[in-house]
């Protein structure tokens, strides 16, 4: 059993409070709803403030202009973002892209791109999924072929985070000698970008069609798949922390409502039917929170079991957030069934979060496979 500790340092507590304060001001429900209605779902004002606080470069190493923070710091920030359903390309640009470039070993690309991300000057994303699964395919159907010193890509990518706002895409594609990552600029001829009609409008996703589109190779051919897997695992630390934060908030909404809503002359929270629902939500939300913190600490400590722990935690946090968000609607009764009430926004986010980096069943299977190999 792991001996890593999940207790926050004073700096981490301060970081949490600072992010909470910023988001209370800059990402209230009205603002979330405004961004939901737009294709980009991106608030440049908020983005600038995140940059000024050093949050865009949070996990970027100091040599590339970032803060060089660890997984626990990232989890602390992501929890707060999840609580308020913050809109914007944080997960794609400030988390997944940096982790991918760092894992690719392409120092030149890191030196060129990461300082710009940290400074809030570049929105970038990673395009890895193809039709049918949100996990990366073992062999992408998107192909890469050499064209002299340069490369061209052909194929389709889907479930691409923030496709509509990104200025640069890191695309996985198959070459005869292996999988690789390629950079594609937004304006490149032969690239078409379309938004997907998504259930969760607080997190934008889109589709790319590449038709002999010029691209630059990142890292080397053959290492793309493992770099992507590493990046997805590191980024999942933020995703599960967002899920935990969202679950905590939805649980709190239900509990607060159960204290004030009166029927039959009593607060509905005095009825065991509602009280027990609230306690079940509390158990799931707290467990998700502990799981997210534990996994972050395990990644910081480089624990040997961290990926198996992540697999369990990612399945658990996905199910927990969906359960809490759904039960919150039920606890609210009629008002929870209205579009104007925010309860459904959390269920929408929860359902999308439970798919975006692979569904719970995929992560459970991964856990068993890892445990089998070790026993």
């Amino acid at each position: 059993m792991s001996a890593v500790t999940s207790v926050l340092t004073e700096e981490q507590s301060d970081l949490r409070d600072a992010v909470a304060n910023l988001l209370a001001k800059r990402s209230p429900e009205a603002q979330v709803r405004r961004l939901m209605s737009e294709d980009t779902g991106h608030d440049p004002g908020l983005w600038a403030e995140l940059g000024a606080m050093g949050l865009l470069g949070l996990i970027i190493p100091t040599e590339f202009g970032g803060a060089g923070a660890g997984a626990t710091d990232l989890a602390v920030v992501a929890e707060q973002m999840g609580r308020v359903l913050m809109c914007g390309p944080y997960l794609s640009t400030a988390v997944l892209t940096p982790y991918l470039l760092l894992a690719s070993g392409d120092t030149a690309e890191c030196a060129e791109v990461l300082p710009r991300i940290a400074a809030g000057e570049l929105i970038a994303t990673v395009a890895f999924a193809e039709t049918g699964s949100a996990r990366p395919p073992v062999h992408p159907a998107t192909t890469a072929s050499a064209d002299g010193d340069s490369w061209v890509l052909t194929g389709e990518k889907t479930f691409v985070l923030d496709a509509y706002t990104a200025e640069r895409f890191y695309v996985t594609a198959q070459h005869s000698s292996g999988t690789a990552i390629f950079a594609v600029e937004r304006s490149t001829p032969g690239l078409s970008i379309a938004p997907l009609t998504a259930v969760d409008q607080t997190r934008k996703i889109g589709q790319l069609t590449l038709s002999t589109t010029a691209a630059r190779l990142i890292g080397r051919v053959g290492s793309g798949q493992s770099a992507l897997e590493t990046a997805l695992d590191n980024a999942a630390v933020a995703l599960i922390a967002e899920q935990a934060g969202g679950a905590m908030h939805a649980m709190q909404m239900a509990t607060d409502y159960a204290r004030v809503r009166h029927q039959f002359g009593r607060a509905i929270g005095s009825f065991q039917a509602i009280k027990h629902m609230c306690v079940d939500m509390l158990l799931e939300a707290q467990s998700a929170y502990s799981a997210a913190r534990h996994v972050a600490a395990a990644f910081d400590a480089g624990e040997p079991d961290r990926v198996a722990d992540l697999a369990l935690a990612q399945a658990y946090c996905s199910d927990a957030f969906v359960f809490v968000a759904a039960t919150n609607i039920q606890a609210h009764g009629g008002i929870g069934f209205t579009w104007e009430h925010p309860a459904h926004l959390y269920l929408r986010r929860a359902r999308a979060d439970a798919q975006i980096f692979g569904d719970p069943a995929w992560h459970r299977e991964r856990y068993v496979r890892l445990k089998e190999e070790n026993s």
Partner: protein
């Protein structure tokens, strides 16, 4: 003295004094004389005035060399309750034999008609000169056959609301009118007993606190019991039922030849996740400096443990399949799976049902309002039953 000094001192004392060959009573007397029996109590009351943490260190050092005799300030519910709320006379008379291991106690709280609603108890105590006469039935009593005393709650006033008419006694078990019958549990085991009490006597000198003040005394005794349960959960060694080994389901499925079954694999991961998040919750509760956070996580622990045990047993049933119909020594795997399935209720009912625990968490942790109590101000004798 700091913790390290204490550790060094007790270690030195044990090295000098402990001899496993020593007569048990003689050894207990030495421990008692040295103040190691109840180290956190005041020197005036047989202790050494140590902190709670230091007292645990002492107990751990005793355990490390296999020496009995320490830790009674956490494990002896009768002594702890009397230490806090007994009269000086009661303390001098009843505590030393108990913490030297010369007398034993049991708990006489629950009744067939008073389980979740313990304050609805109907065992009666009627004053008769210097004694009280006890009549009633108690249930779920461990060690009733070997106990010298029972911590007894009984009704002494039927004309006041239910919580206000209860008194707390140290009841002598070895007397006519006390009949102990083992309870045959659904697992086939018998850990608990029923205790039938007919015209038995307890001296007035053994009343703890005031007549009618028993509910308050009981709350203190229950708090000590919860603390002990927490200690035991932390140091549990026989982990078979409390902490299912994370790999055991995979091992069991492999042995049963069903590890390739994708639905079984999903179930295994689901059950393992319940156990894993519970470990992570416990770890967070231990490391956090936020008391509310720690209290929240600890309060959820019982509900979480019930789910782990029930779900693990359910997945094991799916793994062994038809063998779960069989029991007995010739079917050890089926037998174990059924035992775990049935024994899971030990946790989800014992010590307060999961449903009562959800009420407690909902009210104390989430601040949800209590159910209205229509009989709150009624005399107990007017309650329907």
């Amino acid at each position: 003295m700091n913790d390290d000094d204490i550790r060094a001192e007790v270690r030195g004392w044990l090295a000098e004094n402990y001899d496993p060959a020593l007569d048990r009573a003689e050894w207990r007397r030495r421990v008692f004389e040295a103040g190691w029996t109840v180290p956190s109590w005041e020197p005036q009351w047989w202790g050494r005035g140590l902190t709670d943490t230091q007292s645990r260190i002492v107990a751990a050092e005793f355990a490390a060399v296999g020496a009995p005799g320490s830790g009674y300030d956490r494990a002896d519910m009768m002594a702890c309750t009397l230490h806090d709320l007994g009269t000086d006379e009661q303390k001098h008379r009843l505590i030393p034999p108990s913490i030297r291991g010369e007398t034993r106690w049991c708990l006489l709280y629950s009744e067939p008609g008073a389980g979740s609603d313990l304050a609805g108890l109907r065992t009666r105590a009627d004053r008769d000169g210097d004694d009280w006469i006890i009549n009633g039935q108690k249930v779920w009593t461990s060690f009733a056959k070997t106990a010298d005393y029972g911590l007894l709650v009984a009704r002494t006033d039927w004309d006041v609301p239910k919580h206000k008419g209860i008194s707390f006694f140290i009841f002598p078990m070895r007397q006519p009118g006390v009949e102990v019958r083992p309870i045959h549990q659904i697992t086939g085991e018998s850990e608990f007993n029923e205790v039938f009490i007919t015209d038995a006597r307890v001296p007035h000198a053994n009343l703890v606190g005031e007549a009618g003040g028993g509910w308050g005394v009981l709350q203190l005794a229950l708090a000590y019991e919860r603390r002990l349960m927490g200690d035991l959960a932390r140091t549990a060694r026989s982990s078979r039922d409390l902490k299912p080994d994370a790999d055991s389901l995979i091992g069991m499925a492999r042995a049963a030849g069903v590890l390739a079954d994708s639905s079984i694999r999903q179930e295994i991961a689901r059950a393992d996740a319940y156990a894993a998040v519970n470990r992570w919750n416990t770890q967070r509760a231990k490391t956090t400096t936020d008391r509310t956070e720690a209290a929240t996580l600890m309060a959820l622990g019982k509900i979480a443990m019930s789910r782990i045990l029930h779900e693990t047993a359910r997945v094991q049933t799916g793994i062994v399949g038809s063998e779960s119909m069989l029991t007995g020594a010739e079917n050890p795997i089926g037998d174990a799976v059924t035992f775990r399935t049935l024994n899971a209720y030990f946790t989800s009912i014992g010590g307060g049902t999961d449903q009562i625990q959800r009420n407690i968490v909902g009210e104390r942790i989430l601040g949800l309002p209590k159910e209205p109590e229509p009989y709150r101000d009624s005399a107990f004798r007017d309650l329907p039953h």
